[in-house]
Structure formats: C-alpha cells, structure tokens
C-alpha cells in the first residue's frame, strides 16, 4: 500500500503531458443531430453534454471537446476526420 510513494514522477509526467486540446470547428454541412451523435458515440458524453458542445461549435465556431496528451488528441482528431467532422489539435495555451 506504500507503492504510491514509489511513483512520484508519474504525477509530473501526467501534468506535463496535458497541454493539448482537440477542437471541432463549425461547418455548414454537418447536421446538428449528427455532430451531437458523434460526440455521444465516440467520446461517450451524455446527451446534455454532447448537445452543449455541439451548440458551442455551432454558435461560436468551435469547441474544445477533449484535453490530454498530444498522442491522445491526435487519435481523437483522426477519429473526428473519420466521421467527417473538421477537427484540429493544438497546445492548450496556443
């Protein structure tokens, strides 16, 4: 049970691994119902959260849909492109 003490560096890694975000951008083609469905089926968001993010995309032109390591965000972006959504990744502070 004292094992936790053996891995202090993991916390540091996790922190420095977090500065990337996945953005989904508005486009005039994708249906609102489809975007919401993609957010639910891929990210596992509930309907309220998926609809909230979809409406941010629609009204503000883009929304942050995920935060995490660069590798994770690249996987998300590739998946979004598979769904035909326009997504990019960047550093969170960029």
């Amino acid at each position: 049970m004292t094992q936790v003490l053996d891995f202090p560096e993991l916390d540091e890694l996790a922190l420095t691994d977090q500065p990337w975000i996945t953005l989904v951008w508005n486009d005039p083609v994708n249906l609102m119902s489809y975007v919401s469905w993609v957010f639910r089926s891929y990210f596992g968001f509930d309907k309220t959260e998926a609809d909230r993010l979809m409406l941010i995309v629609h009204t503000e032109g883009r929304a942050v849909v995920a935060t995490g390591s660069r590798e994770e965000m690249e996987r998300h972006v590739e998946a979004m492109h598979g769904f035909g959504l326009w997504a990019t990744l960047q550093k969170a502070d960029a």
């Binding site: 005039p28 469905w37 690249e74 590739e78 492109h81 598979g82 326009w86 997504a87 990019t88």
Partner: protein
C-alpha cells in the same frame, strides 16, 4: 420521401426506389474513386475537406500527421463508401431495394453519407449557412440530392440513436 426507421430487430431499415439505389451507389463509388485517385488531384477542395489538416498552426506538424494517418483514414472512407454501394447492389424487388443495417454497418453508412454530402457541398460551393447560387439544372439536381442525403442521414441517426 421515405427514410430509415428502426425495425424490431434493432436494425435500421430503408426502402429505396431502384433509381434512388442506383444514384446513391453511384455517388458512393464516385467518392471512393476520388479518394483512391487522390494523388492525381492534390488540391481538390473536396479531398482537402475529407482529409483536412490536423494542425492549423504548423504545416510541418500537419504534414507529419498526414504521413502517418492519411492512408489509413482514406482507406476507411473508401471501405465505408464501398459498403454503401455493395448494400445497394442487391437486385430490386418490385422496383424497390431494401437495406437493413446492423449497428456497425450503420456506422459505415453515416460516415460515408457525410463524406458524400461534404463532397457535394464542396462542388456546389456551400461555404456558410446561406443557400448557394445554383448556376444550372445539374447544380439544381445536385442540390436536391444533397438535401435528400441529409434526410437519409437524419433518419438513419434517429434509427440508431439509443
């Protein structure tokens, strides 16, 4: 106009006229061919929309990402489009083609219907929420098809939504 509905089996079911089935299969094949031959049309805006840059702030990162992911992404899109064309190639019965989709097949369909819509939108110059200026009869026809595809997609999502 009819769309997809959810059958008791849980499948999404639609019945297309022979003409609708032929048209949709043809569009799916065109998108598959476009993606397969993408090396010959490197600056086609439709291809750029289907396989967009993953990084906006770095051409170098975008190119690197593309090098590692584009082939797989494009292959997946070609497979999805082919699955639409294949499902619609069943012989018509009384002038109708019935399509029954389980969840994985429906996943391929919604993705590829989206790819076809994105491609048509690119050809028609749909860049914002205002209706595009249609210059001739074939663009008017394409616009009608685009709206029909939107209806099919909407009803398909509704049919598979849990």
């Amino acid at each position: 106009m009819t769309g997809f509905r959810r059958a008791k089996s849980g499948e999404a079911v639609a019945t297309f006229s022979k003409e609708e089935a032929r048209m949709l299969a043809d569009l799916a094949r065109q998108v598959a061919d476009m993606l397969t031959g993408r090396a010959d049309a490197p600056s086609d805006p439709a291809i750029e929309r289907l396989l967009p840059d993953a990084y906006r702030d770095s051409d170098e990162n975008a190119a690197e990402f593309r090098r590692f992911t584009e082939a797989q992404l494009a292959d997946g899109k070609v497979r999805n489009a082919t699955s639409i064309a294949d499902a619609l190639s069943a012989p018509a019965s009384k002038g109708k083609v019935e399509v029954r989709l389980d969840l994985p097949s429906a996943g391929a369909w919604v993705r590829s219907l989206t790819d076809i819509r994105l491609t048509i939108a690119s050809r028609l110059g749909i860049i914002d929420e205002t209706p595009p200026t249609l210059r001739n009869g074939s663009e008017e026809m394409l616009m009608a098809i685009y709206e029909w595809l939107g209806y099919q997609l909407e009803t398909l999502i509704h049919a598979i939504d849990r």
